[in-house]
């Protein structure tokens, strides 16, 4: 089985590093994984997105034409991608910035007030890692341990911000776990 996720938001919101970190975690987990960022001319114009496919078999296409998971950090991205989602999929929205979600009955919507949560931990730039925490808590694509390893690998060269990012991950993770029936 292969699960495909699309991450989308403004350039600068850390969309690409979300995908990259998740993919690293999947690799650490020993899973098959591909990560496909947008590149070249597509990058102009303010928005960014990337695709991660994780599975236990060879991944045929790194492209997600019908992603099971969509993680969006801003309003335009919801509108752009929601209709591509596969029925039964899960949409993670940063509800601090996204207020209009088109109707789709066949998907589950998980709202994470990521900006608020980020402010709570005094790390307004960690919105993306918080979303990742929520994603992992909800979908378990990778183990939380691998995710932590991946975060450490990602910030290898800026070691002093590792703790705050681990905290952000936990914040998002707990946000979901706390909401779920124990």
């Amino acid at each position: 089985m292969v699960i495909k996720s699309i991450f989308a938001g403004f350039g600068g919101q850390g969309v690409l590093s979300m995908g990259y970190t998740l993919a690293t975690a999947a690799m650490v987990d020993g899973k098959h994984v591909t990560y496909l960022p947008t590149y070249g001319a597509e990058v102009r114009g303010g928005t960014a997105n990337c695709t991660v496919a994780i599975g236990n078999e060879e991944i045929a296409s790194p492209v997600a034409s019908e992603p099971e998971i969509l993680v969006v950090l801003n309003q335009p991205s919801v509108l752009k991608f929601i209709n591509k989602m596969s029925p039964g999929g899960t949409l993670f929205v940063n509800s601090s910035l996204v207020n209009k979600i088109p109707d789709r009955e066949d998907i589950e919507v998980v709202k994470v007030p990521a900006n608020e949560l980020a402010i709570e931990i005094n790390s307004p730039r960690s919105v993306n890692v918080i979303m990742l925490g929520a994603l992992v808590a909800k979908k378990g694509l990778v183990s939380p341990e691998s995710m932590r390893t991946a975060i450490e690998m990602f910030f290898e060269k800026k070691a002093k911000i590792i703790p705050i990012n681990l905290e952000a991950f936990q914040k998002g993770y707990d946000f979901i776990k706390g909401e779920e029936p124990a």
């Binding site: 690799m27 591909t34 990560y35 045929a60 296409s61």
Partner: protein, 358 residues
Amino acid sequence: MADKVLMRGNNAMAEAAVRAGCRYYFGYPITPQNDVPEYLSGRMVEVGGTFIQAESEIASIYMVLGASAAGGRVMTSSSSPGISLKQEGMSFLAGHELPAVIANVVRGGPGLGNIAGSQSDYFQMTRGGGHGDYRMIVLAPGNVQEMADLTYLAFDLADKYRTQSIILADGMMGNTMEPVILPEMRELDSLPEKDYVVDGMRGKRPSRARLSLILEPKELEDHNWKLQRKYKLIQENEVRFEEYELEDAEMVIVAFGTAARIAKGAIRRARSEGLKVGMIRPITLWPFPSDVVRQLADRVKEFLVFELNAGQMIEDVKLSLEGTANVSFYGRPGGSIPTPRDLAKVIINRYSQKFRLI
């Protein structure tokens, strides 16, 4: 696990080049292969190699020619329009019999086209888009791991035959990240000696010239036949391919690179519906695995060629089969890449027409 790294196809290729002993890279930016020069601009400084962002693709291919004539393991990379500009230089490398590794991370064409992945430079690479009778080894990686492995191999083959090795990838392959195990770092002094190198006589030997101008037709003809013998040798020894689910196959997909990757997904889908479909994936596009394809036709009569173009490799499949099996084609030019599901539909459709399955 420890030795796996998550890498983009372009970077895996670049790093593998360094590990294969490449210390000279000359290139020019063009999407979707910009990671290659970007990566190497820093990496070459680390390993004491040369990185030059040339003024153009043409200058870079001739810098390659110079560094190769002087004995270096050398590489350039580009994408379709830039590769077109290198055609004269590539013909010269062939005529001069100089090794080089050239990556073409193909984008949609013709003209400026787009930057999506495509396979529409198959003819250009396998038939020699430059002038004259020459061939180049064309390696088509099927995933990021192969981007590294085949690049590594490409340098050895180039030196062995004094020829160009092409890495034929595409925008998707170049930009996808996957876990990859990198090949080991080669010691430069473990590389084979070259006896044709032009690096100054140093009082030790007579002067040498590397050239392709041979004014006397008879002599140029001899030179050409010599090249052809070399190409024959390569055809005999260097064919590479992958067989996928062929044992019981009643229909064979022929696809390479990203198309083959998608085809695998499609075949899994088709098989899950009971269709006996397999694939032959040429890894060397030239030399093309003609014999294998031909032999397959002894038991399989339906071939479907799937390419991310309007139909190019299909000629090689037909030339291999010589009418001994049916060949149909499904293609997507212009950077369009179907999903495995889309392709599975096509496969099921053709299959059921032939075998009245449904």
